[in-house]
């Protein structure tokens, strides 16, 4: 089933000693040319796949952890296509109530929905109901008795679009975090978006630093500083976040290169520097 064996080995339990007793946050930072979608998809796979070597340590060997995926950057079809490439049938896990997709992309600025279906859509006009909508999705996923993994993609676009301020987003996340076991947030970290005196840049910096302080681990994706390469898409670094993980253990820091395959045969290869 898996086309990502190397990747799974990289994220084995030793890298992320997570606790089951309280909610924890993981931050994924990315640049424009190195999107973080693939790593979020990996977290989905690891959370629902119930296999050894998932990022949740040995706890997940006993139980699968459902996923609530909130995206402001892509629609469900985009992720379904990527999962198909990686050999995961999204429809099967949606039917099994292992995966709930909250779409904040398709109808964000659409006043009236074109057709109604069972999907959860977030609309900017109904901002006040978002907390309720996502919380209901979390409770639905929690019906099996296991707190879900909550994944946010492109949450920082909300303050760029003027829908929420960075502080409101952080409070929003803190509220939802209480109901889930693990929260994973992707954010852009390009210097061009952080430098300067504009309100937008200051908000993005405050948002990013704030998340880095709350996270137990930070996965930073960046392009190679030496330019484009045919066999390496970018570099990934795993570091400790500002939130102490536990008394005994600490995130196993490391740096890797990765390669995203293109087309239908595409997969992801993660490898130590120079060990392609």
């Amino acid at each position: 089933m898996s086309k990502l064996p190397d990747l799974l080995r990289v994220f084995d339990g030793a890298h992320l000693p997570l606790s089951k007793t309280y909610p924890q946050l993981i931050l994924v930072t990315s640049a424009l040319s190195t999107s973080g979608s693939w790593i979020l998809q990996h977290f989905v796979r690891a959370s629902v796949a119930n296999q050894q070597g998932s990022p949740y340590g040995s706890d997940s060997l006993e139980q699968k952890r459902p996923v609530v995926f909130v995206s402001f950057l892509h629609d469900l079809e985009f992720h379904a296509r990527c999962f198909r490439k990686a050999g995961l049938d999204l429809n099967a896990i949606i039917t099994a109530k292992q995966f709930i997709y909250v779409d904040g992309f398709t109808r964000l600025f659409v006043a009236t929905p074109a057709e109604t279906n069972s999907m959860v859509y977030l609309q900017s006009a109904n901002k006040s109901t978002w907390l309720y909508q996502i919380r209901s999705a979390i409770l639905e996923a929690k019906a099996g008795g296991i707190s879900p993994t909550l994944i946010f993609e492109g949450l920082d676009s909300l303050h760029a679009l003027g829908i929420m301020t960075a502080k409101e987003i952080l409070r929003f996340v803190a509220d939802l975090q209480e109901d889930s076991a693990i929260s994973i947030i992707s954010a852009y970290s390009v210097d061009r978006m952080l430098d300067g005196m504009s309100t937008l840049a200051q908000e993005q910096t405050a948002y990013l630093f704030s998340l880095a302080r709350r996270a137990v681990a930070v996965f930073s994706l960046r392009p190679l500083s030496t330019g484009m390469a045919e066999d390496v898409t970018g570099a990934m670094r795993i570091t400790n976040g500002g939130q102490p993980c536990d008394a005994r253990e600490i995130v196993d820091e490391n740096e890797f290169h990765y390669f995203l395959g293109d087309g239908n045969v595409g997969g992801v290869k993660v490898f130590e520097k120079g060990h392609w």
């Binding site: 309280y22 502080k167 630093f209 302080r213 930073s220 976040g241 500002g242 939130q243 102490p244």
Partner: protein, 304 residues
């Protein structure tokens, strides 16, 4: 040196009360481990109430320390008045206590002082983390002659501890070139360097650097060898500058310098501390010499 290290240990165990201890950290090295050290050192001390005001620490994440005196207050949805009320309820009298704030970053710059001052109490130590850099707190307020929120905090604080990465985290040039915000490897580890500054009631400031390890709960004083090197370097420079300036010899020889360092200055005695860490300063020490004209009579004696 020994004195400074005793002082920091006494602050950590709340034996000495410092009304406001400000911890300054950066995204590269968190001050949370030092905050946890405060809890750890007071976990089994009877009579010390520990209150944790949380803005970014999830509930349940402090349970492993096993501190029975700890009370957790989640402050995300509470108004400042409500937080003050809760603290007052938990601390009705003037009991010995430790109030910890995990982040001042979420408090608007204009409300910062009004949030902190009601939490300062005579027998309690308030420990708060101020995250740097924070543009909202460091920018100038609208009457531009007023100090920024970060500066105001520095005036208010009685103890300031800067938390820096240890060992020194190398900033890779490749990292700099990649054009993204990137934490260096080795960030936010359990070992850190503390730049400690304590203002005593007398107004005298005590400072020092420490190596702090949360894994072993140890503090080690760092000798300021770099400053000594710098000062000797500067005397050499001075010497070279003075060389052909006049016909007089303005420099000092090595022998003269050693002799000068040995001179005991009178005020140094007042700064020495006894073993328990209590300063004996303030007393005027005068030893009589042979030729002193010592008057037995008390000049203030009642003549009748």
């Amino acid at each position: 040196m020994q004195h400074t290290s005793i002082l920091l240990n006494r602050l950590l165990t709340v034996k000495d009360v410092s009304p406001l201890v400000l911890l300054q950290d950066t995204p590269r090295q968190t001050a949370k481990y030092l905050l946890l050290e405060f809890i750890h050192r007071n976990a089994e001390v009877p009579g010390v109430q520990v209150i944790f005001l949380s803005f970014e620490t999830p509930s349940g994440s402090l349970d492993w320390i096993g501190c029975t005196n700890l009370r957790y207050i989640g402050c995300n949805r509470l108004s400042h008045e409500a937080i003050h009320d809760k603290v007052n309820c938990l601390l009705p009298g003037d009991q010995k206590s430790l109030i910890l704030v995990d982040s001042l970053a979420d408090i608007p710059a204009v409300d910062l002082v009004s949030f902190i001052t009601p939490l300062i109490r005579p027998s309690s130590t308030l420990v708060a983390i101020s995250h740097l850099p924070l543009s909202e707190h460091s920018s100038q307020p609208t009457p531009s002659y007023a100090p920024s929120a970060t500066t105001q905090l520095l005036y208010l604080a009685t103890t300031i501890i800067k938390v820096l990465p240890m060992p020194e985290v190398k900033i890779d040039e490749v990292d700099e070139a990649c054009g993204t915000f990137l934490l260096p490897l080795g960030s936010n580890s359990r070992q850190s360097r503390l730049e400690f500054l304590h203002r005593r009631k007398s107004g005298r400031a005590v400072q020092g650097s420490f190596r702090f390890d949360f894994a072993t709960h140890t503090l080690a004083f760092i000798q300021q060898s770099t400053t000594a090197d710098e000062s000797s370097g500067s005397t050499e420079v001075n010497h070279a500058l003075l060389k052909n300036l006049t016909t007089f010899n303005l420099g000092t020889t090595e022998k003269q310098r050693v002799a000068r360092d040995k001179v005991e200055l009178p005020f140094l005695k007042a700064q020495e501390a006894d073993v328990a860490g209590a300063a004996v300063g303030g007393a005027i020490v005068y030893e009589f010499e042979k030729e002193d004209d010592y008057d037995e009579e008390d000049p203030y004696e009642d003549p009748f």
